[in-house]
Amino acid sequence: MNVFYSPLQHSAGLASMRLEQLNRRYFNNYPDAIYTIGMDNAFHTVNNTVCQVLQRSREELIGQSFSLFIHPEHWEESVGYFRAASQGAPQRYQTVVLRENGESVFLDVTNFPLKVDGEMVGILGIAKDITLQKERERALLQTSQELQRQNEELELFRKIIAHDFRSPIARLLGLGRLLQKDNLPEKTKQTAVNAILQSAQQLDGMVRDLNQMLTLHHQGDEPRELCDVEELVQHCLSDLQQEINNAEATVTLAGSESLHLFTVKAFLTSIIRNLLSNAIKYRQPGRTLAIIVSVEQHDNEAVISVADNGTGMDLEKVGTSLFKMYKRFHHEIDGKGLGLYLVKEQVRLLGGRIEVESTPGAGTTFTLRLPIL
């Protein structure tokens, strides 16, 4: 009997061959990572995209446990998801894998249970690289947080204009009108003229402060440089020499440890100058002002403290308002109220923190902690 191949049979074979090849090509070149993992946790097959995502060759992956490539922080949950899928329940989740060079890749993973003849043999998985999407999400979150902060500041500025700027303006208007009156006693006239000058100076100071503050907010990546903290404190002290002399204050620089910080010099100078200037401003009448500035290093932090024996404050009363704008806590002392707000903002921009301890009648200590990079 002749062996006869039916044309039908022949073309069916070809078609199945083609489908097999097509499937393989499709599998290998599919833009998402496709893989199978056996019950032993090891990669059984991987397509080209798996190799691209993990930046490893097929040989480096096949037979290796998938968990070797998961970011340690996600290891436990990934193993859990794998177990659930290999027990028959499809899983979809997000995870992070690590490349050999340490780069993280965010993945959106779908794992299906894989059965052969009714028996579980592992999982078939598809993973989509969502790193770009994650980065965009993070950037968006950052932008919206920044926007929210700026909106809060805008409301703050509205309040400053409605309350604080209006105050010296109202005084100037009142004083001007007063001076228009006839028959004003000479003494009243003189007081009014002095008060006009004082109000104008205050307004000028506020405009300058506000300008400095707005400039501060426009800066994001100020150049940092290596600063000798002690030298910087000395510089501030010589700037304030006149005030220190007038107050007959003694200033001691404690902690002779030489400390160098990679920081924004202008900010650190402004912070220290503000703290020193506050100590001088709020001195206790009848007691010689003694200021102790100490510079130390604790672990990875530079600790700079400014301690005085001045009037002090009741921090329970002052509460969280201490570092706010235009909040004043002392009578009869000309405080513009912006100093500590600026200090707080500058400390924030330097990635540090500031603490205050105070006892009414005994003194105040401000402690500034800045990270040593």
């Binding site: 409605a162 005084r171 009142g174 007063l178 009156k181 009869e332």
Partner: protein, 131 residues
């Protein structure tokens, strides 16, 4: 002419201005300026508890003050509203142009009026007429 007027303001120049205008209009026999709101409050609370004759007839109250704001001041006086009624009128005198504060002041039963600094002669005259 009123007997006694209190001016509660943490700003010295503001007190000077208000006092000078009140004096020029012969507004009151006695004008007392308080830089420290706490002191003014104490004096009021003492008078309200029994010595009502000593209460000032008019108080000019600033809002934005350290430690004790004008709002805190009003809150502390709230329990004595009955004692103050008809004897003591409180006018807010502030440099603020914040509409929210005006609304808040108008909703307070202790507040007789909301005045914006600087104090104007015509307001002083009106207040004098209502004596």
């Amino acid at each position: 002419m009123y007997n006694k007027v209190f001016i509660v303001d943490d700003d010295e120049v503001s007190i000077f201005l208000t006092e000078t205008i009140l004096e020029a209009e012969s507004f009151a026999t006695e004008c007392r300026g308080f830089l420290d709101a706490q002191q003014a409050l104490q004096s009021l609370l003492e008078s309200a508890a029994g010595n009502e004759e000593a209460l000032p007839e008019v108080i000019f109250l600033d809002l934005n003050m350290p430690f004790l704001s004008g709002w805190d001041f009003l809150e502390a006086l709230a329990p004595y509203e009955e004692a103050l009624k008809g004897r003591c009128r409180i006018y807010i005198l502030t440099s603020s142009v914040d509409e929210q504060e005006r609304r808040r002041a108008n909703s307070s039963s202790l507040v007789a009026g909301f005045l914006q600094k600087p104090l104007e002669d015509q307001w002083v005259l009106q207040l004098k007429k209502s004596y």
